[in-house]
Amino acid sequence: MARNSHEKRAERQWLLILLPSLVLLLAFVIYPAIYSIYLSFTNEALTGAAALRPRFVGFRNYARLFNDAKFWNALFVTFVFVIGSAVIGQFVLGLISAMALRRPIRFRRLFSSIILLPNAAPEVVAGFMWISMLAGGNNATLSRIVGFFGVTPADWLQVFPLSMIIVVNTWRGIATAMILLTAGLSTIPAEIYEAARMDGATPSQTFRRITLPLMMPTILLYMLISAVSTIAVFGLVYALTRGGPGGATEVISIYIYNQSFTAFQLGYGAAVAVVALVISLILGIAYVRAMKVEV
């Protein structure tokens, strides 16, 4: 009996130690998330009459979303951005890097260090580096490089805006994909490959029949993590194009920012934010379920 009450006191002590973190998370994440839902039902604005006296408008903001072509454009651009950079670009290059680095070749550490480098570049710096690569028409660094191979130079960010932010985000995320997929690859027992080689399997057969199926859990986790983090990308796109030209790269985080801080429509911006929160939460719950967290 005495032991039990002692344990109970100890458990309360743990909660006390966790309390400061809990308070910060409640105040600066949970409360804003809930407040965001509330705001989305008002006509709150940063300036004008609505700023002084915001009103409850029910589902009006959400009804407006349905007829807002720019909102659907933002969802579509975000979708293409996530599929292009996270699901395809980072994944393919990350997997190739991870598989190549498994071979006992020389300079492995050097190669992996270089591939990790883009991930270390702060968003704004990454944006400027790529403006140097892409902007300036014939003078742009990329134009000069591909011009050497006979490709017509272009104003890349103007002509292929969405493709270019996909390339840049791919560049930035190869490292994460590589690290995660390396971890996944290392869980496949070497004997299985040995056996396949004995049976005379070709490399492509081995890849399709062994590597891919056994990697599926890792790949699923990677896809969810990278989709979630790509939806949240703001600084990179903002530094590169600020959503332009003409909304071609206006991903959902840029659209929220523009609605709230350029158009000052806080209530409407919050409705868009709630959509982004819900999509991220759904992916997040899928991630937590797929991960089967050991606690």
């Binding site: 910060l24 407040y35 990790l116 480098l117 270390a120 702060p122 140097s132 690290i179 971890a183």
Partner: protein, 303 residues
């Protein structure tokens, strides 16, 4: 068993060659954008595009610290991000320990909840966050003004929630907390309880156990949590963009961004020197974090 047939070794050689070729191509793709920042920052005649400097110079770096506000921006960034990182380390160290040792019912829901918190896009939170911080800020000002009069403004620069260091530090730290708590919880899980129990037998209090036994043991985990917090807070652009407006409070990413906005007279030498200064701590931290990075990610996948 170790006999390798000639065709097999030729096959292996070819595979290695393919590995070298693909890794080289991917490495070039990864590295080339960095050359511009590096070369242009030492170039007396910097341009937007990549070219080999004809006259090498340190003048750009000197100008960052003398003519421009580079030193101020660097200080602001180091102060804000450094404070946030320290705060994260303390809170995650304590919280992670509690999460590792407790058997209370709230442990599992809490751990799942912070995983989901990490998923929420910051852009979707900044508007309500801004309004909330503004309310706190006004309340603080209402208390400080009658007491400190005209000095209240100077105090608010440090303790303000909007356009003050404190608000940004708290929000930056909170954004890094979920990952740091997970890192520390996993770290303490791997730490044997023998030491603590021995200390407990000796009649040490919780505080004593934490200070004499746990902190020394926890240092590698704290270093990992701190590095991750530092890296992402250092790179963050959105939060300072929204919470700071006074020129004297600007952080490096903001200073850099504003320098790039002077459309007609962008000084690329200055810009790239500033970018290189901003890049350096991030790359150094990343170099240190490499080891933890692989462990953390593989730990996450294992489950």
């Amino acid at each position: 068993m170790a006999v390798v047939s000639p065709s097999e070794s030729a096959n292996k050689g070819r595979s290695d060659l393919i590995a070298y070729a693909t890794l080289s191509l991917i490495s070039i793709f990864c590295a080339v954008p960095f050359f511009w920042v590096l070369l242009a920052s030492f170039d007396g005649n910097s341009q937007l595009f990549l070219h080999w400097p004809e006259q090498w110079t340190f003048a750009n770096y000197v100008r960052v610290f003398t003519k421009e506000d580079g030193a101020k921006w660097l200080f602001n960034s180091l102060f804000v991000v450094g404070s946030a990182t320290l705060l994260v380390m303390v809170l995650a160290g304590l919280g992670g320990y509690a999460l590792s040792r407790t058997r209370a019912w709230w442990k599992l829901p809490f751990l799942y909840a912070i995983l989901l918190i990490r998923v929420l896009p910051p852009t979707a939170l900044v508007v309500p966050l801004y309004k909330f911080l503004l309310t706190l800020n006004n309340a603080e000002a209402a208390v400080l003004r009658p007491i400190f009069g005209s000095y209240a403004r100077d105090i608010m620069r440090w303790t303000g929630f909007i356009d003050g260091y404190l608000g940004l530090i708290l929000v930056l730290a909170t954004m890094q907390l979920p990952l740091a708590l997970w890192i520390m919880k996993t770290f303490f899980d791997g730490l044997p309880r023998d030491y603590e129990e021995a200390a407990l037998m000796d009649g040490a209090t919780l505080i004593q156990r934490i200070r004499r036994v746990l902190i020394p043991l926890a240092l590698p985990g704290l270093a990992a949590a701190g590095l991750f917090a530092f890296m992402s807070a250092w790179g963050d652009f959105l939060l300072p963009l929204i919470f700071l407006s006074s020129p004297e409070l600007q952080t490096l990413p903001l200073g850099l961004f504003r320098a790039f906005l002077r459309i007609n007279e962008i000084d690329y030498g200055l810009l790239t020197a500033l970018a290189f200064i901003y890049l350096l701590p991030a790359v150094v931290a990343f170099g240190f974090a490499r080891r933890f990075l692989v462990q953390t990610f593989s730990g996450g996948v294992k489950g």
